[in-house]
């Protein structure tokens, strides 16, 4: 028995030593080192100064086309080859964290989902870009970024860790043909939305056509996004100004009540509807309305993509009811781009984000189909973009920017979003009432916050 204890103790020590050897967690990065490592703001030498060099760029599958475009354009200009590391959109944060914490250190540039920014910073995945921002501010016209995006997509505790890349707000898209057929107007409140959805669904009974598609699959980005579209417009928030949970506020309960009331008239069945299902219904002309990102128009109008090309309309999300009700644009998704602290080619990584942050490149990637939405004011005003996107969409985006409802970016958010997702899903299936689901979420959040103080 004694021998066994000795052997087991030795094994524990050996495994811990091996584990320690595997940790290549860098020291927390600060503005200082980043500033010295960042290339100076000088003109690129003639020719292709980075010919033969390679860069590993972590991107998400829905942005694969856009990332490939960036890679091609960057190669044309600098000669450097950009290798894409493409992962599903909901795995990008864990992939970036594991690359640094495991010591693999393969990724140079990370395209990150902004609610994960706090987690990335807590795990020392991203370089602090404060000095780089200061040095590039005038040249790259950072004041041209929308103010709301400039902060929420890049900043934690007042420090910059990335550049805004994809401004992913939700708008309400509607099928003009179906609306004309049923003589309904684009809704301006969630009550009207329910009525329009109900009207179309009931009138089209038996034709497999529905008034709305509601994305309610149990995936945080999808389900919380759908809820936030209502939560923000009823005047609710996830956390108050002091960071305390207020997820069971009367506004939040009213928002979830509204969502649950819409379910019977939506494309069946919201609990199983993710992007593919919602887009399938939209492209085939089977749904009247869908809450989606600003690139849906371009996707719908792409050759052979849908049967409703040119027959869609878009408006800002409907307003809730009650004293705090307002029109909001939920920042569901939204991506920034940062430099990994363990980037094998840090100089090239900085060059790449500088390239992506340029106004001319932003206009270029926003005027091709690739799933990237404008983050610059100048893009929205540019005639090329207006022609590409349409004036209706540009007006809806501008309306949305008046009240942006973002997700929290705190490092705790990834822990908080799990019980919220569970409880929203339970409310959608009827296993819990909206009030009960949000009360349970509030209790779970208070516990998590207390445990992590």
């Amino acid at each position: 028995m004694k021998k066994l204890s000795v052997v087991l103790s030795l094994l524990i020590v050996v495994s811990m030593l091996l584990a320690a050897c595997g940790q290549a967690t860098p020291a927390p990065s600060t503005g200082g080192p980043a500033a010295t490592e960042a290339p100076a703001a000088t003109e690129a030498p003639a020719g292709k100064p980075y010919e033969g060099q390679t860069l590993n760029f972590l991107t998400i599958q829905p942005h694969n086309v856009a990332a490939q475009n960036l890679a091609d354009w960057f190669k044309e200009e600098t000669g450097a080859t950009v290798n894409l590391i493409v992962v599903p959109y909901d795995n990008v944060i864990e992939k970036a964290v594991l690359d640094v914490t495991s010591g693999a250190a393969q990724i140079d540039v990370v395209e990150y989902w902004y609610p994960g920014l706090g987690t990335l910073v807590e795990n020392n995945v991203l370089e602090n870009l404060d000095e780089w921002w200061k040095s590039k501010e005038a040249e790259l016209k950072f004041d041209d970024f929308f103010e709301d995006y400039r902060d929420v997509l890049t900043t934690i505790d007042g420090k910059k860790y990335g550049i805004p890349y994809d401004g992913d707000m939700h708008l309400l898209w509607y099928n003009k043909e179906l609306f004309a057929k049923h003589n309904v107007q684009a809704p301006t409140t969630w009550d009207e939305y329910l009525q329009v959805c109900k009207t179309i669904t009931e009138a089209e009974k038996g034709n497999d056509v529905y008034g709305c598609a509601i994305m309610g699959a149990k995936i945080p980005l999808i389900l919380i996004g759908t809820f936030l579209n209502r939560l923000g417009s009823y005047g609710g928030t996830f956390l108050d100004a002091d960071g305390k949970p207020v997820i069971n506020s009367p506004e939040a309960v009213a928002a979830l009540d509204a969502l649950v009331a819409e379910l019977p008239y939506a494309l069946p069945t919201p609990s199983a509807v993710a992007f593919d299902e919602a887009l399938g219904g939209w492209f085939t002309g089977k749904v009247g309305m869908v809450e989606f990102w600003t690139d849906l128009g371009a996707m719908t109008d792409a050759p052979d993509a849908s049967v409703i090309g040119g027959k869609w309309g878009v408006v800002a999300l409907p307003k809730g009811s009650g004293p705090k009700a307002k029109v909001v644009a939920s920042l569901n998704a939204g991506f920034g781009m940062g430099v990994s602290t363990t980037a094998p080619n840090k100089e090239l990584a900085y060059k790449f984000i500088e390239f992506v942050a340029r106004p001319d490149i932003a206009l270029r990637y926003n005027t091709v189909v690739g799933g990237i939405d404008p983050v610059r004011k100048s893009t929205l005003e540019d005639p090329t973009f207006i022609k590409f996107a349409g004036e209706e969409l540009v007006a809806a985006i501008k309306e949305g920017h008046k009240n942006l409802a973002p997700w929290p970016t705190d490092a705790l958010w990834f822990k908080l979003q799990e019980p919220l997702t569970d409880n929203l899903s339970l409310a959608l299936t009827g296993a819990k009432t909206p009030k009960q689901a949000l009360d349970d979420t509030q209790a779970a959040w208070e516990k998590i916050i207390a445990e992590n103080k």
């Binding site: 524990i12 309610g216 609990s271 339970l426 299936t429």
Partner: protein, 294 residues
């Protein structure tokens, strides 16, 4: 000196294998065990030693409890059906010589398909709006309106089970077929001479002879099924609600979505203990059953 070397040489020769086995199996296990007593995150392994706090938390974690129940139900139901169907198919095919190659090739196709592709195929089949299952069910008047198999808490788990049965029944079929085809012919010839009925031959000869292998198939498949992850990840993400939450997927969520590696380690150890207890119980049960059949 020589005799000492000779005496110890077998141990020395086994040593490299022992070291390799130690490195690939025991060290990761001990790593997980060590980390389960801490409040580790991905970037801070072995952070804050908290003894059994993670284990205490696990015992009061309702979702983990529900996921264990779901896991056991899933494993038991799919394994029973797969083994039964696999055996029935193998029994029906065992004497078929001309087409046996074709059947075996067909049976291998679901096994060759990557689990993610299997999940995608079934997601398309189950789709309430464009899936062919709903289409034909409505065409034949079986369903009045589309059914969202993956969106209904009562149907989502059976839908995942069905996809799993489709993928893994061929595995059981092939192993049962191999077992049946390897049985000795003499007892059957003797039974034929004695005028035994088909049922008597099956009950008295085939079943006792093939049972040990079939039970091993059941045991293997049960242990594999306890680790189901891919179908849940691709088809339902544990939803709707927690209706398809299984242990592997919950541990993944805790470890790689909440980055709570210490707690995920504790959950993994608990699942390991549970599986070990079940495996021991099933092995004992197998021995008991075999004695009964004899």
């Amino acid at each position: 000196m020589n005799s000492s070397l000779e005496k110890h040489s077998p141990k020395l020769m086994v040593l490299p294998v022992f070291i390799v086995l130690l490195l690939i199996s025991l060290v990761p296990l001990i790593y997980v065990l060590g980390i389960s007593f801490t409040q580790s995150t991905l970037s801070k392994p072995f952070n804050d030693f908290i003894w059994f706090e993670n284990y205490k938390k696990a015992f009061t974690d309702e979702i983990f409890g529900a996921s264990l129940v779901n896991t056991l139900l899933f494993a038991f139901i799919v394994t029973t059906i797969q083994t039964f169907l696999g055996f029935v198919l193998a029994f029906a095919m065992q004497k078929e010589r001309k087409l046996s190659g074709l059947f075996r090739t067909l049976a291998l196709l679901p096994l060759f398909t990557p689990p993610v592709a299997v999940a995608m195929i079934w997601r398309l089949i189950y789709d309430p709006n464009s899936g062919f299952l709903n289409y034909y069910m409505r065409q034949f008047g079986i369903f009045e309106k589309s059914v969202a198999f993956l969106g209904d808490p009562k149907l989502a788990f059976p839908a995942i089970m069905f996809a799993d049965i489709w993928q893994w029944t061929p595995f059981c079929f092939l192993l049962c077929l191999a077992a049946l085809q390897s049985l000795p012919r003499d007892p059957y010839e003797a039974a034929a001479v004695d005028g035994a009925s088909a049922w008597q031959v099956f009950r008295r000869l085939t079943l006792p002879m093939v049972a040990p292998q079939v039970l091993v198939v059941f045991l293997f498949r049960f242990l594999i099924a306890l680790k189901v992850f891919d179908l849940v990840y691709m088809l339902t993400f544990g939803g709707p609600g927690n209706s398809t939450q299984v242990a592997s997927f919950y541990i993944y969520r805790v470890g790689f979505k909440q980055f709570n590696i210490g707690y995920a380690g504790a959950l993994s150890i608990l699942v390991l203990i549970l599986i070990s207890v079940l495996a021991t119980g099933l092995t004992k049960g197998r021995d008991f059953l075999l004695r009964k059949l004899e």
